[in-house]
């Protein structure tokens, strides 16, 4: 279902749906763009290309408690998650959440992710690509499903895709703001918009044939050259919408048998990640870790699911201080040369 | 009731000791020794960029970390001709108020009070003075919070930098501080009342000099560009060397200072003696009520001075936070030259702290740091010696002498990483 909404009505709409839960959206403070809890549309920056951390932080916080325990056993800590409406997420991030859903909601469903996912409504928003966006190369620049509502900004008005029954419920909270009256001009407008968006990309990204190119170039020294530059800082994994690795530790309370089992974001770029007891490390060399990361994103996942585990959001491009990212790695492998 | 938090605060000491050498009834020597290992920080920062120096020098002392940071910033900003924005200045003032309350509350209530009340430690006071111990902890916790909000963390915060702050406290944080500061004023006043109610023994009384930084605009404050010497006399902070001729003594890794061959005192006492009349509000009234000529001779009054000062600091906070909140967050000011020299003088809780720098082509060539405890050491020895002599003449025994001397040493609030309270008597 696609509806139409006047742009000036958005604020009122968000004000209404806030009744259902906390409103979250992209905010800017200097260089920092982040999804934060807001009170009104005016606090959001809908023009920003991307937040530093993707919306995964709301579904899967950097560190949280899984269980409380005492000497009787473990009791899961769930149930304290508020309802949230996440406004302003872009198609790439919704694709990212879909990949996370596959990870966490299918076989062995993760109750922590599931709870937050269940309580978070996704209200997408169209975006203006910048020079780092490469969703055109991963086929994630548009989105057809996975959201509750999706707002496409066509300058004069919004086209609003209703993607779920819960999205529809939101519409029903303020039906007078929406119309079904879509005419020929609107369709033309939308076609123009798609063309315009497609013409905006400038990143030099091309992932075609990646699985084979990876296979062929796996042992090439090009990857060693890149790895020599890698700081092992792990920023790339923290900002990637499809990175889901975690570590688990137990904490105990001082002088007591009680404690918590906590879980926090880990990174395959860290040495400890593949370290096993006795000191053996399956990926002691930085290049082995780099290979794991990039085979996972650009090869293995394609082999398994037919699409890369990269949604083209450009975060690794915007984050890695030494320019190691899906684009530079793919190009280096293809051209057998580390680009400038 | 279970309020055991005070236990560890019973005694704070550093690595060192006081040695009193007696020969019959005569005092041969009183020395305050510092065994704390040497760190040579001034030498280490040579060749460093100023921005790196301000990370390193606060590590001289965990209790006065912000004073070191501020003194270094002042010295280096002068050297590099940086004029920090007003909001930065105000926020620095606030952070200094925080450090002042933290240190003064700890020292008055938890370290000195047991001495005056005749308890071995603050924990021992719990039964009879439990409320006071709780007051102390309240004040200290709040002051730590002020330091954390302004400087980034409780100890060695890196938020204050050259030309300004990395991040300014939020309006919400500021208004919370204002509110809490108002609530806590009575706790500070109570300390004043307690210390004003004691009899101060005459044994340690000796005339001495007092030095303190002269706060600008005829106000009471904790930083400035000139130094006041025993009221009246004023010297530019850049001439700090004339005020504090430093020397090394064989029994200590801490250097000593004197002024014109005579000892002098710095600290709350000195600040109030030199500038106390400028204080307004409740603290001003308290000062007028309790100040007397005996303050000029007897270091034990330092505790009373600290309590009054703590009241002042709390009273300042609401206005300080309002001013900060009213301003937009400015960018940090950049250096306008890369060669120059400057001396930063601030009032650390225990007295004047100097950081002098000479910078050449963007690198530090000379760093000279003079800590308040170093300046006080001679004065501590002078007063202890006088006290010991008089008490011995009066036929007092070692068991009375020892605590009396400890009490004097502690009254100066010697910084824990440079000096201590432990007294040993050595009979020849």
């Amino acid at each position: 279902m696609i509806l139409k909404m006047k742009k000036e009505d958005l604020s009122a709409f968000l004000e209404t749906v806030k009744e259902w839960g906390e409103l979250w959206g992209p905010t800017r403070k200097g260089e920092r763009v982040a999804f934060e809890r807001v009170e009104a549309l005016s606090q959001m920056d809908l023009k920003a290309a991307r937040t530093i951390i993707p919306p995964k932080k709301l579904l899967y916080p950097p560190r949280f408690t899984m269980f409380d325990f005492d000497d009787e056993g473990y009791v899961e800590r769930t149930g304290d998650v508020p309802n949230r409406i996440l406004f302003g997420i872009h198609p790439c991030d919704i694709h990212g959440i879909q990949i996370m859903d596959t990870m966490f909601l299918e076989e062995y469903k993760d109750p922590y992710y599931a709870e937050r996912r269940e309580k978070t409504l996704l209200l997408g928003h169209s975006c203006i690509p910048d020079e780092k966006c490469m969703c055109f190369a991963t086929d994630t620049e548009f989105i057809a499903e996975g959201f509750d509502l999706f707002f496409t900004d066509l300058k004069m008005f919004y086209l609003v895709w209703v993607g779920s029954s819960r999205g529809h419920d939101l519409v029903r909270m303020k039906p007078e703001l929406f119309s079904r009256d879509i005419g020929k001009d609107d369709i033309l407008n939308y076609t123009e918009y798609r063309k315009w968006k497609t013409s905006q990309f400038s990143a030099n990204a091309d992932f075609t044939g990646m699985p084979d190119i990876f296979e062929l170039g796996y042992d090439s020294s090009i990857l060693d050259e890149l790895a020599e530059k890698c700081l092992s800082c792990g920023q790339c994994t923290m900002v990637c919408p499809t990175c889901n690795c975690f570590n688990v530790v137990d904490e105990v309370e001082l002088g007591s048998v009680e404690g918590t089992r906590d879980r926090f974001w880990d990174s395959c770029m860290f040495r400890e990640y593949s370290l096993v007891a006795g000191g053996h490390n399956f990926r002691d060399k930085r290049v082995d870790r780099l290979k794991l990361w990039y085979t996972h994103k650009l090869q293995a996942y394609i082999g398994e699911f037919g699409e890369p585990a990269c949604v083209g959001c450009g975060r690794c491009v915007a984050t890695c201080p030494v320019d190691i990212n899906v684009v530079t790695v793919a190009n280096a492998l293809r051209e057998q040369e580390v680009g400038k | 009731m279970k309020t055991l938090e005070v236990v560890p605060l019973a005694r704070v000491e550093g690595d060192g000791g006081i040695t009193v050498t007696l020969d019959g009834k005569k005092v041969k020597k009183v020395t305050l020794d510092v065994h704390e290992g040497p760190r040579l920080i001034e030498q280490l920062v040579r060749g460093m960029k100023p921005e790196d120096d301000v990370n390193v020098v606060p590590r001289i002392c965990a209790i006065c970390t912000l004073s070191h940071k501020y003194a270094a910033l002042r010295g280096l900003e002068k050297a590099l001709a940086i004029d920090p924005p007003e909001k930065a200045q105000l926020t620095r003032d606030l952070m200094m108020l925080g450090e002042n309350v933290e240190s003064n509350s700890l020292h008055t209530y938890l370290l000195a009070l047991p001495d005056f009340l005749g308890y071995p430690s603050a924990i021992a006071m719990l039964n009879d003075y439990g409320d006071d111990v709780k007051r102390a902890l309240r004040l200290k916790k709040f002051a730590n919070h002020v330091m954390e909000v302004t400087s980034g963390r409780i100890v060695h915060g890196e938020n204050p930098g050259l030309g300004g702050f990395g991040k300014y406290p939020s309006k919400k944080q500021l208004s919370e501080i204002a509110l809490r500061a108002r609530e806590l004023v009575p706790d500070a006043v109570r300390a004043v009342e307690l210390f004003a109610s004691f009899e101060y023994p005459e044994y340690p009384e000796v005339d001495t000099n007092f030095m303190s930084v002269n706060a600008p605009n005829k106000r009471f404050g904790l930083a400035g560009d000139t130094i006041l010497i025993s009221k009246g006399k004023e010297t530019d902070a850049e001439d700090y060397r004339k005020l504090t001729s430093e020397r090394v003594v064989p029994h200590s890794f801490a250097k000593r200072s004197d002024y014109k061959d005579k000892s002098f005192a710095v600290g709350s006492n000195a600040r109030l003696i030199n500038m106390g009349e400028r204080i307004e509000g409740r603290a001003g009234d308290l000062f007028k009520e309790h100040f007397s000529d005996r303050w000029l001779k007897n270091p034990l009054f330092n505790n009373l001075a600290q309590a009054i000062e703590m009241t002042w600091a709390l009273e300042q906070m609401p206005e300080a936070t309002e001013k900060i909140a009213a301003l937009e967050d400015p960018k940090r000011t950049e250096a306008t030259r890369d060669t120059g020299s400057g001396t930063g003088a601030v009032e650390a809780p225990r007295g004047v702290l100097y950081h002098h720098y000479e910078v050449k082509d963007g690198l530090i060539e000379v760093a000279d740091i003079i800590t308040p405890t170093a300046q006080n050491l001679d004065d501590v020895e002078v007063h202890m010696k006088a006290c010991a002599e008089r008490m011995l003449a009066d036929g007092r025994g070692d068991d009375e002498l020892l605590p009396a001397l400890e009490m004097i040493a502690r009254a100066y609030d010697p910084c824990i990483s440079c000096a201590t309270h432990l007294v040993t008597l050595k009979r020849l």
Binding site: Y74, E215, C268 | -
Partner: protein, 300 residues
């Protein structure tokens, strides 16, 4: 045929796959100087019934306040009730496990992993090659095939240890030698006791004593230290056992056991759900492992 395989529906019984259930340690005693035998019984009977597993599967074991780690089940599902493990003391969690007394509890969840493909192995000859701690999962397989003796062809069990003192389940295996429906060959690298009744030498030397095997009809299961794999694989390939009938278990760091934490991933395979049992053919495709001992020589 009895269905032992843990299927999806069973898994969903556990609504929080990370949640350990409490089990009581009923016995714990040393097998060697750094390996202990643990026997555990579920505190909750239903839980014990749910714990139907395959040889080669593992559980995640928790000690309160210390953490969690994967351990192969050493007992056989053909003797239900108690779970058995043999655990080597190598790090933090294992050290704390060794400090637990009988009757104290541990948290267990599982079983996880694919286990050995029992269905496919039925009717075939079975060749088991164990080295060191590799005997932990292989004991489960061995006991299972022996308990279901009529459903398998010839069975050979080859086991190497460094010294007699370091051989896990030494007495148990020596006793198995008595059986004439099993070719049980035991060897030690070095006999430091002078009392060792069996062979001295490498596991690979035992292959000489196997006699002729019907390679195409044989499933080989191998588990042991990395160096052993290298040589044993060469032998097995030389014997002409098809590479997809050579089974090996891989070990990786694990934090969840259910394919979420990422640590055990090798390319797109997760050791915890796609493994830990892999065929040699699978492993030959793992680029990460090529050139790292396991498979290099065979490719060359």
């Amino acid at each position: 045929m009895r269905k032992l395989c843990v299927v999806l529906e069973d898994r969903e019984v556990q609504d929080n796959p990370y949640k350990p259930e409490m089990w009581r340690i009923v016995r714990r005693y040393p097998l060697t100087n750094d390996v202990n035998f643990f026997q555990a019984r579920s505190v909750d009977v239903d839980q014990a019934l749910r714990m139907n597993y395959l040889p080669g599967q593992f559980v995640m074991a928790s000690v309160l306040g210390e953490g969690e780690a994967p351990f192969s089940i050493s007992s056989t599902p053909s003797r239900p009730g108690l779970l058995e493990f043999c655990i080597q003391r190598v790090g933090t969690l294992t050290e704390t496990l060794f400090s637990l007394k009988e009757n104290q509890t541990v948290g267990l969840r599982g079983p996880y992993g694919n286990g050995f493909p029992i269905d496919k192995m039925e009717g075939k000859d079975i060749l088991i090659v164990a080295g060191g701690l590799g005997a932990a999962p292989l004991r489960s397989l061995l006991l299972y095939v022996l308990d279901n003796r009529d459903r398998f062809g010839d069975i050979a069990y080859l086991h190497g240890a460094r010294t007699p003192g370091e051989m896990l389940f030494r007495e148990e295996f020596l006793q198995l030698k008595e059986r004439d429906d099993l070719n049980c060959l035991l060897t030690v690298d070095k006999d430091d006791t002078g009392q060792w009744p069996e062979r001295v030498g490498m596991v690979t030397d035992l292959f000489k004593e196997l006699g002729g095997i019907d390679a195409k009809n044989t499933y080989a299961a191998v588990c042991g230290p990395p160096v052993m794999y290298k040589f044993v694989m060469q032998r097995l390939v030389k014997l002409d056992i098809p590479k997809h009938q050579i089974l090996m278990t891989l070990e990786r760091r694990m934090k969840c056991g259910v394919g979420k934490c990422g640590h055990c991933a090798i390319e797109y395979l997760y050791t915890c759900i796609d493994g830990p049992v892999f065929t040699y053919w699978d492993v030959l495709h793992m680029k990460e492992l090529i050139g790292k001992g396991v498979s290099s020589d065979v490719i060359a």
